[in-house]
Each structure stands twice: as structure tokens, then as C-alpha cells.
Symmetry: C2
């Protein structure tokens, strides 16, 4: 790719971003769009709907920027929770890293690269290949490579310092958050699975007997888990039917304003349908009730066990209970509304096997995904495209077409394919036997991260120069060399990727096109605002890997092609302000893990650094400076030791709370008069919502689904 | 090596074993040797010395065999402890495995190998190369390889079944042993290190305050650890001086019977020396007392903290105590006499760094050790030896010399070098910051195992055919092929190794040549039995790796060269009876880990199986049956899954005792009237022995060194 193509791409994307920002600032002020651009405020009842029309509503303004910028971190914490704050810390951390990298990269490395003449590109400045700005242009054996060497050391040092600082900061935030939290059921509860139920006894009795025997002073209560998959389905059906019935009723009651089919016959038919639906719903409800009473006797060998104190719950959580370690397996209970009931597989062995199978499935997905990536990659090599599709030759020769295709299309297509992956990863994670939505998302987040790194970074980097081949990872000795040959030559693709995919993603995150369109459609066809809508929650499992991937690109290309750094800085600036806005206005909190997503970011940054070092070793070797290559070897070793130290120093805090905190918190509660009421509620907090009594046909209060707790009006 | 050379070697070693057995059965009956062959009985006061002479004393008898055979496992357990029983289980397990392997190998695989004619060796039966009995002789592409394939599957299945059975058996023994044990200090105690001592406070106060605050109901007492290295040295000096003094006194008191230098002048000089020594000892004792009082104020930030119940001690052991996971680090306390005081490094960071450095040191040792191995290996290739030392040519051409050299010398030299390694590994492990001798031995055991496998198996296997090169492990794809080429060709070396090194080791273990000679010398020079002797303890860290290595040889060569199996079976039979004898008569118990050495054996067996599978894949590939090679790939995967399952199912039991056991055991003690006395002793159980008052010059009761507790009279 040449410089002018890059500039075209930057221009297009900058224009697009500006357009979307302008549109957003107008659309968000329209009362009809309040459920699209401020669902969180609607849910919390904080939105002031302005029904009267004024001219200001049609003018683009930047007030939302100020509003998103203003809140301090403490305000953010109290409004949107610790997970969201940690999510924002990723941006702050990245901004710091790349501000520093940008200074070194643009002011020092870029001029050095440009002064080299290894590639002997004599064209005009705007026609210069982007490779002229990359390390490929530095002459073989040049002493200037020492500067790259020192830059790598200094950069690694700074990133490690920032990582340590951030880890320490988030750990302390996590502990503070725990101290300041209200008593919550999941703090007092553990999930016990693989309970060895004797033949003559029930699970409930076994649990009661065991904990009364061994933890009599702290044991409070338990609720046995029941295999409710069939019941869940029935309730789902009933819920859908109920929804349809409500719509039918509404349609029959109100005159048909917008539709032309308000004939008498049709109206009568609607009334018939309504009657039939009501009958069906009643039948379904009977079914549900029968199933519920049957289920009360069908117990899974797993139970949520609650204790009188947090420390009391921590003891059986950490100490192996039974002689057989695969029985009485304990784990922290998730928040009650975070429990993922549908796929509650209880057996240790079953969970273990499904975990192995999910690993295999993930590998298969990664390999199959190679097909679209390979095709996408073909688009950056126009010559190859001409060979495949000869009839396109004349079109492809047009400058605009060629620039759009090389600069824009590839990443767009890749993006389309990628959007299917997160739901698949969530599905796979849920099959692994995680018991809560937050765990599923955390597990999916890791999967997505490796998937992204492998399928975007490695697949693109390697297929460009050598045959994309898993085999190279079976010959570790050759890895630095192969990467050093392949990665720098893909610099232009990844610069384009940041500009197109990165920037566009951010502005479309703000614009919420999908939700806007569905809102338009529903308003048009149901006539007026739908009074029942679902506020979205932020999909950490797809956002964090994406951000971490841009971080990886920045770190890896920092000294290969520093030209990428300004674009990455713009990406993180956009991300910072846009996600602050979204967190404050759009997303509601589905669960609170207390910052457990951070270690994933830490690991991915360490991986990026080591990858950068490996490529550096390869590059210095290729550039005929073996001494520098050898002197770079300690760098990855030191980085991994640093990572290991961080794991020992901080990771335990993210796994469970220490005794000191638990006991202090318990003491603070001792004099709290509301605790007895809390314990009364705790006893029933973990009852399966599928077993709650339902009454749709009576149409009194609707039961709320556990997954959508807090997310529905 | 040809068959007749093997038979010569077998003959020599069989004769040697028989000779040693005969000598042993005579020597053990001589009263003077009782401290060599039954020190354990002497220590326990069970030996009946027969001072009167009778003829039976000079005749070889096999009574000791019967006595070693007779005790049941329960008797063994009560006499020698669980670790020794687990050690014997290694032999039982190996005997079962190789009895089965022998049946398949000798009856099925050996004839098939011999019937092939790939090597077209037309010599006489006795001149046949041992390779004719190995898989190398099976024709390329032969269908008979399917039999090898099925044999590998069946053998793996049987080994895994036996491993599972053994793991389950030893786990249950471990739990039973815990239930039946007396209350012991280490069950009630944990070691807390990295205590954050505030400036204005002492460590002792900090510990007291912390545990009174957070574990007030169970906390009993604590003893702070002190950095006593200098003191240890002083006490060691004093001890040595005291010993010398005792000897001097004895010499001066008794008339010099055996020595010709009993002149008056010399006698007077001895008296002078004695007086000087007494003066020195007094000075040294003063020094020690000054140092002791100074030390009482110098505290390390570590302490042994005792609790009122086992479960009470388990709680802080398992739950992270402080907010910072690198502070208040807890671990199980070892038995008081098992504590390794000299290198008690207390800081988390320091221990972490030394651990990393020990890893590097181990790697360095492994690489340096290559030199003697390469020389040894040269001896099996006589031609090479002739090139190196041309003047030996005529000697080497003699049939006997050549057979002795190829069959016997190489493993003897290797053995000599290997004997230096265990002490080095113990030293390295102690530098890692382990706090007890048992942990040091366990860690050294693992190191020795990998060292042995690498330096005997891989170095010998690979240097024989390809240049010994660490590089092949950087190209994992080629490993099966290289191993498949190299390993079968070294079959004869390893068969000779089993016969010479294995058998000789076992019989010299019985004969205890070193101790016998030192006993002879000391009896000759000090005149009569030394009344102060030290009973040895079994060096698990050098014995277990050796046995596990023979197990690895058997498993790996099971289907490559089944001829090795009978010799291995003989080795394990010898080992079974000899070690039973030694455990009952010779070795005293220094510590009791409750069978924690077993997981090492489990891991090494799994490694052996996987290594066998990898070689099998390579062999089937080389023999032009790629289908069989591919069908073998699931075997290592399944084996690793099995291993992973075993880890989950059994390993936690070997790490710590479950809550159920602890609480049951605590309840059983509640009504025990002796417990109050036990708790009184517990308070002082973990005081550093270096701080106990000493009084050598007064010559009243001698203080016993912590390391030799129970091992001295």
C-alpha cells in the first residue's frame, strides 16, 4: 500500500466518523430514540423526555462529549460499577502506553527508518510505499539498529511499570469495592456439587447432615439445584405466548390507525385467535405447574449452601471437604441473578469431559475460520484477485476502486465474519459447565482473544509471505525468523485495519445502527413507543478482546512500523470518550465480577510484549546484527519473570478475598440491625426461578426471568 | 553386542550377586558387624548380641530371606512407617507391570521379532546380535506390526489400570494412617513467613496481634524463627571439638593396646592437647551463649504458629490471610525434627529468585554432565576407542577384554559419576528455600529423576546414532522419527545396563560395602565397637529415581526389545526382598511424609508411557506403516487425559488432609486426657534447637542436633 492510499482511507474513515458523530448528536435528542441512546437512564427513571419541539433538537451539538468527560472515576464507580471502571482503565492504560510509544516511535524511530535506503524506493513522497517508514527500510548491518534495540528495552520497561501500577491500582479498587459493598447473597454462599447422595437419602438431607456435622457453627441454609431444562422450555413458550396475547389484545382494543386491513372479518378472526391463545396459555400453565411439582422431587446432586458469615463461607470454599476430591466440590456462588440455569451440568466427570471437548471444538473453529481469512487476504493482493477474476481487470485498474478495495474492503469483510464468532464462543463456554453468565463471558473473552490473535494477526501476517502453515509452530527454532520476515511486510494491512475496522467500530458503537433501525421499525409497525424494551448490557467478551488486539498491534508494530501509532492513539481516544458515554447512558449492569476481567488484559499485554521481542530477535538476525539479536534474548525472559511475579503478587486477590477482608467485613455487619432481614432473604435467594409459581392467564404480576433481572422495566 | 557377550555379562553379575549374598549371610551374623547390618535394631534396642562363638556363624544361611519375606504390610506399616510401605509398593507395582509385560513380550513379541529377517543376520545363535530380537528385525511394511500395535494398547491399558489402583490404594492408606496417628505437633502448626513487621513493633508481637485478631478462637502459640546460621556454625564447631575431646580422653585413660607409639612423651603431649581442647571448648561455649542471647533479639519475619485443633490450623493454611498475597504466606509446618534450619530464607521475593536460579543451575549441571556420559558411551564403540588410544589396540582385540569392556565397564563408570549427583541435587534443593529435609529430598528426587532420564536415557540413546543435540527438542515434529531411529539401536546397551548397574546396585545395597569398611577401620583403630554410631536413613531422593528409571527402561523397551524384560523382572525381585530386609534392619526413619513420594512415581510412569508411544509412532512410520502410526496417536492423548484425571482425583489428598478427616480427628481427641500435656509441649516444639542451652564442658546431657533426631544413640 502506498501513502496516498492510506491517506484516502484515513480521509474516508475520518469523514464517516464525523458524519456518524453529527448524526448521533442530532438523533439522540429525538424523544423517539431515547430507548436507543439512553436505555440505561430510562430503566433508572432518570430520563426527562422532552415531548415539545424546538429547533435545537435538529442542530448537532457536542454537549454529550462534555457530559461523558465530566464524571470522575469515583462517580463512575458508584454509577456503573467496578467492572465498567476496570473496562475504562484498559483505555487509560493503553493511552498512556501509546502516548509514550508514539513519542519514541514518531520522533526517533520513524525518521531513522525513513533515512535508510534498503528498499530504494525513489518515488514521490505520496507514492512512497508505507514500507519506507518501517524497519524494513533500515540498511542491513546498520548501527542504527542499536537505537531500535534500546527503544525495545525502554518501551518494555515502561509497559511493565504501567502494567504493575495498573494491577496494583485495580487490586486496591477491588478490595475497596468489597469493603464498601452492601451484604450480598453471593458473599455468603458457595455452590457445592458432586454431592455423594446415599441411596436411602435425598440430596437435601445429605447436605443438611454434612454441613451440620462439619460446619455447624456457621451453616445457615441450602437450596438444592434441580434439573429444570424441560421446565425452562415450557416457561419460555408460555412467556412467548403471553407476549403474543398482549399484542393481540392491544390490537383488538385500539382502532387500527395505520393499517388498511381493519375489516370486520379480520377483526373477528383476531378475536378468535385471541381466545385460542388464551386457552393454549392456560394449558401450558397447567403443564408448567405439573412439571414444577414433579421437579420438586427430582434433585441434582448440587446445592447452594449459605452461611452465617462471609468467612464461614470461605472455609469450605478453600478447604477440600470430602476425602474424595471429586466429591463435595465447592466453588464461589455467583450473584443470584447471574446464575446460568439452563445448562447446569452437575457431575465432575461430565464437566471435565465437556471441557476437553470444548477445547477441541475451539481448535476446530479456529481452523475452519481460516477460509474467510484467506479470501479476505487475497483482496490486498490485487494481482491475485485479477488472476482469480479476470473479468474484473478493467474495474480493478481504476485508482479509486483499487484504493477502496485495498484500503477498506478487506477489513470490512473480516469484520462481518468475526461478528458471528462471539455468540459461538459464548455457547461453547456455556457448555464447559460454568455456572454463571459472568464466568461464561470471562471464559468466552479468553477464547475470543486467542481466536482474534490467531485468526487476524497470525493468519494475516503469515499467509502474506509464507504459506499459512500450523507447522511452523512445530519448529520453534524457526519462529523468530519466519515472523520477522512476515510481520513487517503486513504493516500496511494492519495500519489500514486500525483506521477502517478500529475507527468504524468505535463510531458505530456510538451510533448503534442496529438498535436504531429496529427501534424505527417497531415504532412504525406497533405505532408509538413500545413500552416494553430491554436495555442492553455491555458485551465484555467481544469488546475486551477487540481492544486488547489493537493493543497487541500497537505493541508489536511499535518498532517495526511506528506509523501505526498515531492511528492507534486516535482509536483509544475515541474509545475512551465513546465508551464513557455508552456506559453512562446505554448499558445496564448484568453482573459484577469486581474487576475479574483485568488479568486477561494483563496476560494479553505480556503476550504482545513477548511476541514483539521474538520478532525483534528475528529482525536483528535478518538485518545481519546477530550481536543485537543475542542481546535481545534476555528481554522476553525478564518480561516472563515479571509476569510470573505479577501473578503471584496480584492474581490471588482476583480469585478470592483474603481472610483479613472477610473478617473485617463480617465484624462491621455484626451490629447492623438489617442483617436479620438479609438472612431471611438469603434462605430463598438461590431458589431456581423456574420453580416460582406462575400466573400469566390471571395476568397479575409477571415473574421476571433470572437472566434479565434488572434489565427489564 | 552379541548374545554371547550378554550371557558373559549375565554370568559375571549373577556370580557377583551370589557371592555378595553369601558373604552377607555370613557377615551379618558376626557381632562386630551389627552396627552395619542391623543398626535399626540396635537403635531400637531389639538386637540380641551373641558374643559366644559357634560354628553356625561361619556358614551361609538364607534365614534373613525368610525374615524379610514374612512381615505383612500392616506389620511393615507399624514398624517402618508409611513412606517405607509406599516405597515397597513401587516394587510391587513394577513387578505386576513387568510380569504382565514379560508374558506378552517374551511369548508373543520376541518370536515375532526373531522371525523377521530385516537385519539378515546369518550368524550362529550365540553370535547373533541382540538386535535380532528387537523390533528392528521385523520386515518393513510387515502386517505383524499390527500385533505390536495391539500390544502397545493392551500394555498401556494395564499399566493405567494398575496406576489407578495403586494411587487409590496409597491414598486410602494415607488417610488411614492419618486417622491412626498420635497427635503430632506438625498437624497443629503452620509456618507463616513474610510477616509485615511494623517499625515500632517486634515480629512476635505482630504475629500475636494478627492471629489473636483473626483466629482468636483457635490460636494457641507461636515461635518466631531466628537467623541462626552463625550460631549453627559455632555449635557445629563445639560439637566437633567435644567429639575430639572425648576421643582424646578415652585414649589417655585406656592403655594403648594395638599401637606401638605408647611412649611417655607422646602420652604427655596428648594430655597437653586435651587441656588445650578443654579450654577452647569453654571459650567456644561462651561464644555460643553470647550469640544466643544476641540472637534472641534478631528475629526473622517468619514464625511457626500453633493452633488448638488441626482444622483450626488448616483454615489459615488454605485461606489467603493478608490483602497482599506475598505477605503472611502460610505453609504446612514439617515435623519439628524435620525442620531444616541452616538455610532458612524467609523472604518471598528471595525464595522466588533463588528458585529461578536453581532451575538455571540444574540446567547447567545437566549440560556439564554430558562430558562423562559421552566418554562412557565411547566404550561401547570399541572401534572409536581404538582410534582414540591406538596403543590399546592389542589388548582390546582379546575377546574377554572386549566383552568385559563393552558389557560391564561403561555402566560402572557412569555409576561412579552418578553417585556425585544426588548430594549436589540436595544442595540445590535446599537453596530453593524448602523448610524441611523431607521437602528438600522430595524436590531433589524430582530433579534426580529428570537428570537420570535425560543424562542416561536420552544422552545414551541419542549420542549412539545421531549427534547428541539439544536442538532436536526445538523441532518437535522430528522427535518421533529421531527417537525411533536412535532408541532401538541402544537396546543392547540398556540390557547390559540393567544387568550390570541394576543387579550390582541391588546386591551392594545389601552388602553395604562402604559402611562395612568404615566399621572395620574404626574397630581396628579405636579398638572395639564404637559405642556412638549413626544409623542411616533411606535416601529416597537417590533410590526412587533409580527405580523409576529402570521402570522407564522396561516400559520403553517393552515392545522394542522384549529381551530386556526378564532382566528387569529379576531386578525388581531382588529389589523387593533386599529393600524389605534393609528397611526392617538397617534404615531408621528420619521423617514421615505420609506417602508424598508416590505422585513422583506416577508422573514418571506416565512419562515413560508417553515416551513409549512417541517412539512407537516413529517406529511404525519408519517401518512404512503410516496407518498404524496414525492409529497410535490417540494413545498418548488418552494417557495424558488419564494422568490429568488422576491428578484431579488423587493429588489433592497428597497435598493436604480434607476437612472431614481433620474434624473427625479433632473430635476424637476432645476426650483424650493427655491432650493438655500435648499442648504444653506443642508451645515449645518449634523452638530453634540452636537456641537451647548447651553445656559440653560440664559434659552432662548432650543436646541433640535437629537433623539427627532419632538417628543417634
Amino acid at each position: 500500500m502506498i501513502l496516498s492510499a492510506l491517506l484516502t482511507s484515513v480521509g474516508i474513515n475520518f469523514g464517516l466518523c464525523f458524519l456518524l458523530f453529527t448524526l448521533y448528536s442530532i438523533l439522540r435528542k429525538q424523544p423517539g430514540n431515547i430507548t436507543v441512546y439512553a436505555p440505561r437512564l430510562v430503566v433508572e427513571g432518570k430520563s426527562q423526555e422532552r415531548r415539545h419541539f424546538n429547533l435545537e433538537r435538529l442542530l448537532p451539538t457536542a454537549g454529550w462529549l462534555r457530559k461523558a468527560w465530566e464524571p470522575s472515576e469515583e462517580e463512575l464507580l458508584s454509577t456503573v460499577g467496578l467492572d465498567a471502571v476496570v473496562f475504562m482503565r484498559i483505555f487509560i492504560f493503553s493511552l498512556r502506553v501509546f502516548a509514550f510509544a508514539g513519542i519514541i516511535g514518531i520522533l526517533i524511530l520513524l525518521p531513522i527508518n525513513y533515512c535508510g535506503n534498503q528498499l530504494s524506493d525513489d518515488s514521490d513522497f505520496t507514492d512512497k510505499s508505507l514500507d519506507s517508514f518501517s524497519i524494513s527500510n533500515v540498511n542491513d548491518g546498520s548501527n542504527r539498529l542499536w537505537i531500535h534495540y534500546f527503544a525495545a528495552y525502554v518501551f518494555t520497561g515502561i509497559v511493565c511499570y504501567l502494567l504493575y501500577y495498573e494491577y496494583a491500582y485495580i487490586s486496591s479498587k477491588r478490595i475497596d469495592y468489597f469493603y464498601s459493598s452492601k451484604p450480598e447473597p453471593h458473599q455468603f454462599t458457595i455452590l457445592v456439587s458432586d454431592i455423594p447422595v446415599p441411596l436411602e437419602s435425598t440430596c437435601s438431607e445429605t447436605v443438611e447432615r454434612f454441613f451440620m456435622e462439619y460446619h455447624s457453627s456457621t451453616y445457615l441454609s441450602h437450596s438444592v439445584v434441580r434439573r429444570s431444562r424441560k421446565l425452562e422450555r415450557l416457561i419460555d413458550d408460555a412467556e412467548k405466548l403471553y407476549k403474543r396475547l398482549t399484542q393481540l389484545k392491544k390490537r383488538n382494543e385500539t382502532p387500527q390507525r395505520f393499517r388498511c386491513d381493519g375489516l370486520l372479518g379480520l377483526f373477528r378472526r383476531n378475536v378468535d385467535v385471541q381466545a385460542r391463545c388464551e386457552k393454549e396459555l392456560e394449558d401450558l400453565e397447567d403443564n408448567v405447574r405439573t412439571e414444577q411439582s414433579a421437579l420438586a422431587r427430582k434433585e441434582d446432586p448440587a446445592a447452594f449452601v449459605s452461611f452465617k458469615s462471609r468467612f464461614g463461607a470461605a472455609i469450605p470454599l478453600h478447604i477440600q471437604e470430602g476425602v474424595n476430591p471429586t466429591e463435595w466440590v465447592t466453588e464461589q456462588a455467583p450473584e443470584p441473578h447471574d446464575v446460568y440455569w439452563p445448562l447446569f451440568s452437575a457431575s465432575f466427570m461430565k464437566r471435565w469431559i465437556s471441557k476437553q471437548m470444548v477445547v477441541v471444538a475451539c481448535a476446530a473453529l479456529t481452523i475452519l475460520f481460516f477460509v474467510p481469512v484467506a479470501i479476505t487476504q487475497g483482496l490486498t493482493n490485487l494481482d491475485q484477485l485479477e488472476i482469480w477474476f479476470p473479468f474484473l481487470k478493467s474495474v480493478l485498474r481504476l485508482a479509486v476502486v483499487s484504493q477502496v478495495i485495498t484500503g477498506y474492503l478487506p477489513s470490512l469483510i473480516l469484520q462481518l465474519f468475526l461478528s458471528f464468532v462471539p455468540p459461538i464462543m459464548v455457547m461453547l463456554s456455556s457448555m464447559q459447565g460454568h455456572i454463571s453468565l459472568s464466568q461464561i463471558h470471562k471464559s468466552a473473552c479468553t477464547k475470543m482473544l486467542w481466536f482474534t490473535i490467531w485468526n487476524i494477526f497470525f493468519a494475516n501476517a503469515l499467509s502474506g509471505s509464507v504459506l499459512y502453515n500450523v507447522n511452523i509452530f512445530l519448529e520453534p527454532k524457526k519462529i523468530p525468523r519466519i515472523l520477522a520476515e512476515a510481520v513487517p511486510s503486513q504493516a500496511s494491512f494492519f495500519i489500514a485495519y486500525v483506521v477502517t475496522s478500529g475507527w468504524t467500530n468505535m463510531s458505530s458503537e456510538l451510533f448503534q445502527l442496529n438498535r436504531l433501525m429496529s427501534n424505527c421499525i417497531s415504532r412504525t409497525f406497533t405505532g408509538g413507543a413500545d413500552d416494553e424494551f430491554e436495555a442492553p448490557s455491555i458485551p465484555y467478551h467481544s469488546e475486551i478482546p477487540r481492544i486488547a488486539f489493537f493493543c497487541l498491534l500497537g505493541v508489536t508494530y511499535f518498532f517495526l512500523a511506528p506509523l501505526i501509532l498515531p492511528f492507534i492513539l486516535v482509536y483509544f481516544c475515541l474509545g475512551y470518550i465513546i465508551f464513557r458515554n455508552q456506559l453512562l447512558n446505554v448499558y445496564v449492569r448484568k453482573y459484577e465480577t469486581g474487576g475479574k476481567f483485568w488479568p486477561i488484559v494483563q496476560d494479553s499485554t505480556i503476550f504482545s510484549l513477548v511476541l514483539m521481542h521474538i520478532i525483534a530477535i528475528g529482525i536483528f538476525g535478518l538485518k545481519k546484527r546477530p550481536l543485537i539479536a543475542i542481546l535481545t534474548v534476555p528481554l522476553p525472559v525478564l518480561t516472563l519473570l515479571f509476569s510470573e511475579h505479577c501473578r503471584k503478587r496480584f492474581l490471588p486477590i482476583f480469585k478470592a478475598y483474603p481472610a483479613e477482608c472477610l473478617i473485617k467485613r463480617d465484624r462491621a455487619d455484626q451490629n447492623d440491625p438489617t442483617m436479620s432481614e438479609f438472612f431471611d432473604n438469603l434462605v430463598t435467594a438461590y431458589n431456581d426461578p423456574a420453580l416460582l409459581p406462575i400466573n400469566y392467564s390471571g395476568n397479575s404480576d409477571r415473574r421476571s426471568s433470572p437472566l434479565l433481572h434488572g434489565a427489564e422495566v
